[in-house]
Symmetry: C2
Subunit: 211 residues, 2 copies
């Protein structure tokens, strides 16, 4: 009924348009959802973290590319039996609904970011989101310095933010120059004053972008 599959970092899990005869839950690793135009323009449209769900009941075709960003382990269920389970166990559908609503909110926050924020605000927003997520895991409060590792390349950041990698690099440098962040190497970021970073995001409150 259920089985496990592993993917290496960089490997494509499903291509947009492919038939997807299973649904899955991410056990470990990070996968990203993206869409690509013929001429190569790419936009990341979502992130799958451990416990997130892949695939949809009632539709067989994948609507976007799913790529493993790190080594990924999936727990897969064949489509038929899973839909059976949904019918018999109301709790499953409810849980899935909750997760999907969260993703929808996150996607809608992202629409504002892509449509209306400046490059600097986009970078600050992304850093704030990642920092907040890492801090939540680390049970860290935001009062003092907080250091974390950027889990992605400049190119991946650009693909999320609707920018080019050069612009990402320039804006990261600018935030560093202005003292909003500090860098140790290229990936390790320190945030001396979290509220200062939040001021740069353009958001009116400290509330929530998810994922």
């Amino acid at each position: 009924m259920k089985y496990y599959r592993e993917f290496e970092a960089g490997q494509t899990i499903v291509w947009s348009g492919d038939e997807l005869n299973f649904v899955a839950s991410v056990v470990d690793g990070i996968a990203s959802l993206s869409q690509t135009m013929e001429d190569g323009r790419r936009q990341m449209v979502g992130l799958l973290l451990p416990s997130d769900f892949l695939g949809r009941p009632g539709r067989a075709a994948a609507p976007y590319d799913v790529t493993a960003s790190t080594k990924v382990t999936l727990c897969c269920f064949r489509r038929g039996p899973f839909e059976e389970l949904m019918n018999t166990t109301p709790h499953v559908a409810q849980r899935l609904l909750e997760m999907t609503l969260d993703e929808l909110d996150a996607a809608r926050e992202w629409l504002l970011l892509l449509g209306r924020k400046t490059a600097r605000e986009k970078i600050a927003s992304l850093l704030a989101i990642i920092a907040r997520r890492k801090a939540a895991i680390a049970q860290h409060n935001h009062e003092t310095d907080f250091t974390f590792d950027l889990p992605m390349t400049r190119e991946a950041m650009a693909d999320y933010l609707g920018l080019t990698l050069e612009t990402v690099s320039r804006q990261v440098s600018a935030l560093k120059r202005d003292g909003v962040i500090k860098l140790q190497g290229k990936r390790e970021v320190t945030i001396p004053d979290f509220s200062r970073l939040l001021d740069e995001t353009g958001d009116d409150n400290d509330g929530g972008l998810l994922v």
Copy 2:
């Protein structure tokens, strides 16, 4: 248990952050979801059409502004009883899940549009989506001329597409000049060759933007 509420065109149904002690289904009219930054930058993040659902089980705060674009009738349920219903009737949660997944797909298509498409491609995409939806209702095939009414101002188009209204106006004029569309007045659009319009959207296929 359930009751009806009416809103005039232009009226705000809920403000972002307000408590929302009901969930509702749109009976009639069009409402739009939007987010606004302190300095006035606005991004539409979704559209509610008849049969669409407003609010979310398990969360009381509205995450964005909901505004009536036309006269709107809502069928409202108090939050408590509705959640009760969800627990007892698995079919309800499943149907909601399906609708939410559709909205999520639509939002993700929109991410690509906002992040990577040019102004011309954005306009063409929006026109194609509206035309397709109207054509579907009219049972029209795409072989011949198709005429429809634009249900929004240039400003609303700009708010959807992450553009300014001047750019929208210029690009609409350009598409007209190039023969991709024809205009009778400001709102009535004719598409002489649907595939020609699709070529302008930047999408690789004729498949699916939803909503």
